[in-house]
C-alpha cells in the first residue's frame, strides 16, 4: 500500500491526449464510411444471382467473425509484407478495421434490406424508376432506418476495439496512453483518464449519430 494517486502530469499531457483522440476519431470515421459502403455492396452480392459471389461473401464473413481482430491486424501488418504488400501503420489499421466491421455490418445491412416489403420496390418500378434509382432512393433509405440502432452499436464497438491498433504503433488514444505512462510512471492514472475519454467518445458518437440519423432519415430513429 502507500500508493497515492497523482494527476499532476495531466496538464502537460492534455495536448498529446487530444491528438490521440483525434486520431481515434479519424480512424473510426474512415472505417465507418468505407465499412458501410462495402457492406452495402456485399449485402447486395449476398443476394445476387451468382452462386460464387454469394459463397465468397459468406466465406469472408465467417472468416472475419471467427478470428480475433488483433490477429487480423497482425496478419495484415506483419504477414502481408512477406508476400510483397507493405502498408503504412495507419493504412493497415484502417484496412483491418474496415474489413472487420464490414463482416458484421454486411449481415446487419442484409437484414435491413430483407425487412423492406417487396411491394415498395414493385411500386417504384411501376412508377417507372430505374433499378438503381429504386435501390438508392426507395429500398436503401427504408432499410437504413430499420438497422440504424444496430449500425450505431457496431460503430461504437469498432471504435472501442480500435484501441488495439496501438500495438502496431498507430498514434491514437491508447498509444498516447502507452507513451505517457512510460514517461510519467503513473500507469494507473493514465489508463484511468484515457478510459474515461473512450467512454465519453462512445457516448458522443451515439448522440451524434442519433441526431444525424433523425435529420437524414426522419423521425423514429433512436
Amino acid at each position: 500500500m502507500g500508493y497515492s494517486l497523482d494527476f499532476g502530469w495531466l496538464r502537460d499531457a492534455a495536448g498529446a491526449i487530444a491528438h490521440g483522440a483525434m486520431m481515434t476519431l479519424f480512424l473510426i470515421a474512415c472505417t465507418t464510411v468505407l465499412g458501410i459502403v462495402i457492406s452495402i455492396l456485399f449485402a447486395a452480392a449476398r443476394r445476387s444471382r451468382y452462386g460464387i459471389l454469394r459463397k465468397a461473401v459468406a466465406v469472408y464473413v465467417e472468416m472475419i467473425r471467427n478470428t480475433p481482430f488483433l490477429v487480423q491486424l497482425f496478419f495484415i501488418y506483419f504477414g502481408l509484407p512477406s508476400i510483397g504488400i507493405r502498408l503504412d501503420p495507419v493504412v493497415a489499421a484502417i484496412l483491418a478495421m474496415t474489413l472487420n466491421m464490414a463482416a458484421y455490418t454486411t449481415e446487419i445491412v442484409g437484414a435491413g434490406l430483407d425487412a423492406v416489403p417487396k411491394g415498395q420496390g414493385e411500386a417504384a418500378y411501376a412508377l417507372g424508376l430505374r433499378p438503381r434509382q429504386v435501390f438508392v432512393k426507395i429500398i436503401l433509405p427504408q432499410a437504413l432506418k430499420v438497422i440504424f440502432p444496430a449500425l450505431i452499436s457496431q460503430v461504437i464497438i469498432m471504435m472501442l476495439e480500435s484501441a488495439v491498433v496501438s500495438q502496431i504503433a498507430v498514434r491514437e488514444l491508447a498509444h498516447e496512453a502507452d507513451l505517457l505512462q512510460a514517461r510519467t510512471f503513473r500507469s494507473f492514472e493514465t489508463y484511468f483518464v484515457v478510459t474515461l475519454i473512450y467512454l465519453a467518445l462512445s457516448m458522443a458518437i451515439r448522440r451524434l449519430f442519433v441526431a444525424g440519423g433523425r435529420r437524414m432519415l426522419g423521425a423514429g430513429v433512436s
Partner: protein
C-alpha cells in the same frame, strides 16, 4: 540459431492454445457468476441497485477491453496484490464477461410475460424463489443463442491478454515470429486455430437460434 519447421511452429501454437481455452473457460464461468449478481442488481426493486447495475454494464460496454485489462494490471498492485498477467487477465475478462452476460440475461427476463411473475406470486413464492424456479430457467433458455455468441466473442477477446503479458496463443505466436521471421505462416496459423475454436460455437449458436421459436 534454432531451426523451426512448419510442424514445430504448429506444435508450439497448438500447445499454447490450452491457455487460451483455459482462460476463456475461467472467464466465462467467473463472468456467469458475477453476471448473475449484476443481473439481480439490474432487475432489483431498489432504484439505486438498478442504477448501479445499468451503470456497471454501461461502463464495461462503453470502454475498450484493452484499457480495462491495463487498469486491472496496474490497479491490482495498488490494492496490495502482486502484478501477475494471469490474475489480471482472468479478473479483467471476468468483469468484462459479467457485464455482457448480465445484459443478455436481462433481455431474457424482460422478454418473459409479466404473468409469469404473477403466477409465481400466486403460488406463494417469494421473490428469490420466483427468480430461481420460474423466471431464470426460462430466461436462460431463451437467451442461450446470444450467450453462446458471446462466448465466441470472449474467446476472441483472450487474444488481447497477450498485450499485458499472458502467455496464450497470440503471445506465443509473437515469440515464434520473432525467432522465425515467418509472420505470414505464424499469424495465418493463429487465425486458423481461433477459427477452429470459434466456428463450431458460431454454428451451434445459429442452430439454437433456429430451434427457439420467435416470440
Amino acid at each position: 540459431m534454432i531451426e523451426f519447421t512448419f510442424w514445430d511452429i504448429l506444435r508450439n501454437l497448438v500447445f499454447a492454445t490450452r491457455w487460451t481455452v483455459l482462460l476463456s473457460a475461467v472467464a466465462f464461468a467467473g463472468g456467469a457468476a458475477v453476471g448473475l449478481l449484476i443481473l439481480f442488481a439490474r432487475i432489483s426493486k431498489q432504484k439505486w441497485l438498478r442504477r448501479f447495475g445499468s451503470g456497471y454494464i454501461a461502463l464495461f460496454q462503453g470502454t475498450p477491453l484493452l484499457m480495462q485489462l491495463f487498469l486491472m494490471f496496474f490497479g491490482l498492485p495498488m490494492l496490495g496484490f502482486r502484478i501477475e498477467p494471469w490474475t489480471a487477465a482472468a479478473l479483467g475478462l471476468t468483469f468484462y464477461a459479467s457485464a455482457y452476460l448480465a445484459e443478455i440475461w436481462r433481455g431474457g427476463v424482460e422478454a418473459l410475460p409479466l404473468g409469469q411473475w404473477d403466477a409465481g406470486a400466486s403460488l406463494g413464492l417469494h421473490r428469490l424463489q420466483e427468480l430461481r424456479l420460474v423466471i431464470l430457467p426460462q430466461a436462460f433458455a431463451i437467451t442461450r443463442p446470444p450467450a453462446v455468441g458471446f462466448l465466441v466473442q470472449l474467446i476472441k477477446s483472450t487474444a488481447l491478454t497477450s498485450i499485458i503479458g499472458f502467455e496464450e496463443l497470440l503471445r506465443t505466436a509473437n515469440a515464434i515470429n520473432n525467432a522465425t521471421f515467418e509472420p505470414f505462416t505464424v499469424y495465418g496459423l493463429v487465425a486458423v486455430i481461433f477459427f477452429v475454436l470459434c466456428y463450431p460455437l458460431t454454428q451451434y449458436a445459429r442452430m439454437l437460434e433456429r430451434k427457439i421459436p420467435a416470440h
